[in-house]
């Protein structure tokens, strides 16, 4: 492959197809303020919005979690009624999985991946904005159920036939269906967009095996989403038809087999757990080499183990169903497959440790969180292997042992990685570093709180305490560890909130110090997103970076001298791009993604409450589609507009999209 292909620029002066703004169909022009955020198509802003929305939902899910822990702190507690308790744990699980962990992954993917592959933006910027808004409105819609008859109450996986109208007559599960279906549209369009970006918009020279590990993990994650989302979509549509239109898919009286729900849910659900953890794996794979001052150990193994997890993740779903009466052959096959999938995961853990081995470790906050992920995820992974053994799983199913397991992988694993990632890339996003001492305090508080909360659940589970029980009796012997877990949960809650406190604290410090710039490369890092100024300018790269090796930026800074000793030949500041956006053409913002996304929940409310409401919703959607299609392709008056530009970044909504073209 040719490494240097001249970027194809339209020669200046070439006549462009004239865009004809039609009345309201002009592009928004705001550069700052709230309306700039509402109409933005910039992947970095969208990434930040994903993160902020996830933090908002984290508060809701966190309050639910603390309510659960308060209820369980003492035996025979009456803080929550049985009904309220059902809604609490269901909404806690649903919100945390779909509206916190998944969007944080999307936040990192959106913000970082285009920077890491050296692209101007994602492949379809307007669809990217739509993905965010439809996720956000879907999440809001799901949470309006708190005020409209109570949240869903069937557990986050909502097993049939318990999810039917007969057993859950309130609208909670309808909201659960509609909200997640709508958020799922965002995941689907987002995954298509990001895969296209990774595959088609890499900088010249960046072959697949020169991509950063995070980009690889994003690719695998988005493929998992692409194929998993339609399965849950079907399951939720069938359930919606059952609940709203009297279909019989899960109606046992009519001979339906409710196990179908479990299969559909877990065919989605198991890839889902991998797509929650893989972005965090990618994040620590970037952080550890940076602060161990060594290249990642076994890069190809990191990549292929990620791909292997992506493939094998599809063959293990029935290990969630060992007690559902599967036949012996199924149980054996899925048991073996589940043990096998621990191998690529183990490869990753080994490689991180080998990267740390002999490195000059800089134990700052991102590094601590990464090490926290490795340690705690390993604990969760080991208890996961104990679920792979079917007889042992039969004992553990539906006990707190399971709760302990998945919190160790999702909180101790994924979430720790995410917090580390926030500390690591914060200067690239906002232009100032978070306070490191504060961060270390936060880390240790989270570690202590986390292990106090979920460690005892292993013991409780093996003692036989079932999940989803509103309370327990004094004589059952669960008192002590439950109280410990509750205390831990509050420590953990404070620990998580310290992140926000640190942001505020560091901001005020930074402001009073006269807003010093951290420089493009505050960590002496390895990948090309550090070769542009901090915060990243809206046009990303002044010119297309040309990539010649893995960790390209590092290799431009450090080279071997004649004695074979690796020496720094440049500082990051010297070779970083100056951030001069002159002559760069960017996709113009658009009103229509948010309008389109706004129409869809209206249809959702219509399906729940009154079908007539679907009509205004559909009108909004159709109107927005027309607006989207008839929007002038580009705002010729936008600042920085120039004819001599190269390809990436203005493709989907680019200047070829003629007003008359898009009707559907």
């Amino acid at each position: 492959m040719a490494i240097i292909d001249k970027p194809l620029a339209l020669p200046a002066g070439e006549p462009r197809r004239a865009a004809r703004p039609l009345g309201v169909f002009t592009r928004p022009k705001e550069q700052s303020g709230i309306s700039a955020w509402l109409t933005t198509v910039d992947h970095k802003k969208i990434g930040i919005m994903y993160g902020s929305a996830a933090l908002f939902f984290l508060l809701i899910g966190g309050v639910a979690a603390l309510a659960i822990r308060v209820q369980l702190a003492t035996p025979n507690n009456t803080f929550l009624s049985g009904d309220a308790y059902n809604r609490m744990y269901t909404m806690h699980g649903t919100v945390m999985v779909f509206l916190v962990v998944m969007p944080i992954g999307a936040a990192f993917a959106n913000f970082l991946m285009p920077l890491q592959v050296g692209a101007r933006d994602v492949a379809f910027p307007r669809i990217n904005a739509f993905s965010f808004w439809v996720f956000f409105f879907g999440g809001l819609m799901l949470n309006t159920s708190w005020f409209l008859g109570g949240g869903a109450d069937g557990g986050w996986f909502n097993y049939a036939p318990n999810n039917g109208v007969a057993f859950s007559p309130s609208h909670g599960i309808d909201f659960w269906n509609a909200g997640l279906l709508i958020a799922g549209i965002g995941s689907l369009t987002g995954s298509i967009n990001l895969i296209t970006t990774v595959l088609n918009m890499r900088a010249p020279g960046m072959t697949l095996m020169k991509m950063p590990v995070f980009t690889w993990m994003t690719l695998v994650t988005q493929f998992l989403l692409l194929f998993a989302i339609p399965v849950i979509t079907v399951a939720q549509l069938l359930l919606t038809f059952d609940r709203r239109f009297g279909a019989n898919f899960f109606n046992v009286q009519q001979g339906a087999d409710p196990l179908l729900w479990q299969h559909l849910f877990w065919v989605f659900g198991h890839p889902e757990v991998y797509l929650m953890i893989l972005p965090a794996f990618g994040i620590v794979s970037e952080i550890i080499p940076t602060f161990a001052r060594k290249p990642i150990f076994g890069y190809p193994f990191m990549v292929f183990s990620g791909i292997a997890i992506g493939f094998m993740g599809w063959g293990v779903w029935a290990h969630h169903m060992f007690v559902s009466g599967l036949g012996p052959l199924s149980v054996t096959a899925f048991s073996v497959a589940t043990m096998f999938i621990a191998v690529p995961t183990g490869v990753k853990i080994l490689n991180w440790m080998a990267t740390l081995w002999g490195g000059k470790l800089i134990l700052n906050t991102p590094m601590l969180f990464s090490i926290g992920l490795i340690t705690q995820f390993t604990v969760g992974g080991l208890s996961g292997v104990s679920h792979a053994i079917a007889p042992s799983d039969t004992q553990q199913t539906d006990t707190y042992y399971i709760v302990a397991h998945f919190h160790y992988v999702l909180f101790g694993g994924a979430f720790f990685g995410f917090v580390g990632g926030v500390y690591h890339w914060f200067p690239k996003a906002f232009g100032y570093k978070l306070n490191d001492t504060f961060g270390k305090v936060q880390f240790w508080m989270m570690v202590v709180g986390f292990n106090l909360t979920f460690g005892p659940m292993h013991i409780l589970g093996l003692q036989g305490m079932p999940r989803r029980m509103q309370t327990y009796d004094d004589a059952m012997g669960f008192n002590f560890w439950n109280l410990v877990a509750t205390i831990g949960a509050f420590i953990l809650g404070v620990g998580v909130m310290l992140l926000l406190a640190n942001v505020a604290y560091s901001y005020s410090k930074w402001k009073s110090a006269g807003r010093p710039n951290p420089g493009p490369d505050p960590w002496d890092a390895r990948t090309i997103e550090w070769s542009i100024p901090s915060p990243a300018p809206s046009h990303n790269f002044d010119t297309d970076p040309v990539v010649t090796s893995l960790d390209d930026f590092w290799h431009r800074k450090y080279q071997e001298d004649e004695n074979g000793v690796v020496r720094r030949v440049h500082t990051g500041e010297e070779i970083a791009q100056p951030g001069n956006g002159e002559g760069v053409h960017l996709p113009a913002p658009s009103y229509w993604p948010i309008v389109l996304a706004f129409g869809i929940p209206i249809i959702g409310y219509g399906i729940i409450f009154n079908l007539w409401l679907c009509i205004p919703g559909a009108l909004v959607v159709i109107g927005a589609l027309f607006g989207w299609a008839l929007e002038p392709a580009d705002d010729l008056d936008a600042p920085g507009h120039d004819h001599g530009h190269d390809g990436p970044g203005h493709d989907g909504s680019g200047d070829h999209a003629e007003p008359e073209l898009e009707t559907v």
């Binding site: 240097i4 292909d5 970027p7 194809l8 620029a9 339209l10 379809f124 307007r126 669809i127 279906l181 799922g184 549209i185 689907l188 298509i192 895969i195 296209t196 088609n200 918009m201 890499r202 900088a203 010249p204 020279g205 960046m206 072959t207 692409l226 194929f227 989302i229 339609p230 399965v231 079907v234 069938l238 059952d242 239109f245 009297g246 279909a247 019989n248 898919f249 009286q253 009519q254 001979g255 339906a256 179908l260 065919v267 297309d544 389109l596 959607v621 989207w628 190269d646 390809g647 990436p648 493709d651 989907g652 909504s653 680019g654 070829h656 999209a657 008359e660 073209l661 009707t663 559907v664």
Partner: protein
């Protein structure tokens, strides 16, 4: 509902990825559309699996004589299902075969339309596009007719498992065909305005991809639902 967001960005993107040596050689739009179709495969896979399981369970209950299975269908049809152990006697195979033929035919006219556009043969492209849309509309009319007949025979959506599964699966497919027809109509409007030039061949090709995908799904449905008991 998930369909609406994808087909709106048909920018022919030959120029764009050419500057990027690391791209795959497919344009962004086409690659994205293939990804979307991959996702759709899983969607229809789940629907077809659901149909097979649901109808299997339904027939099992009827054969076993479960009195709670709602029989809004006439007794002789229920007896036939119980006797033969399949619902396929319910279908009108010659009629559906004709429908299948029409949909296959529309796939042919679609590729011919694409070929005509690439060769700048605009008169032919209008003819073939119109033919495709008309054949698609004929297929949908046939489906509406079939649904009406079945409904009169007592197969209700909320009646029993068979009704729910059958209408959901074929209805999903019909909705996809309808969306395809709308896209074809949009193409036709462009064609008659003279906007559908050879540089837009990829737009036609992508809508064609969608159309053939819908056809391929019907190939599966026709065999699995209608022919195999």
């Amino acid at each position: 509902m998930t369909d609406v967001a994808i087909p709106v960005e048909h920018a022919p993107a030959e120029h764009h990825e050419a500057g990027h040596a690391s791209s795959l050689g497919l344009s962004n739009t086409k690659l994205a559309f293939w990804l979307f179709l991959g996702s759709e495969c899983l969607l229809f896979g789940a629907l077809i699996s659901t149909y097979l399981l649901s109808v299997g369970n339904f027939v099992g209950q009827v054969v076993a004589g479960n009195p709670r299975v709602v029989s809004t269908m006439p007794a002789e049809i229920m007896n036939e299902i119980a006797e033969k152990g399949t619902v396929n006697g319910f279908f009108d195979i010659p009629f559906t075969s004709a429908s299948s033929f029409i949909l296959l035919m529309s796939s042919l006219t679609m590729v011919l339309a694409h070929k005509a556009v690439t060769e700048s043969n605009y008169r032919a492209s209008k003819i073939w596009l119109s033919a495709t849309a008309l054949l698609g509309a004929t297929f949908i009319s046939g489906q509406v007719y079939e649904f009406t007949v079945f409904y009169r025979e007592g197969l209700y959506y909320d009646g029993n498992l068979f009704g729910s599964a059958f209408y959901t699966l074929t209805g999903f497919h019909g909705a996809h065909v309808t969306i395809g027809i709308l896209m074809l109509v949009a193409l036709l409007i462009m064609a008659f305005k003279g906007k559908l030039q050879a540089d837009r061949a990829e737009t036609v090709e992508i809508i064609g991809l969608y159309w053939h995908f819908v056809d391929v799904v019907w190939v599966l449905i026709f065999t699995v639902v209608y022919l195999i008991p």
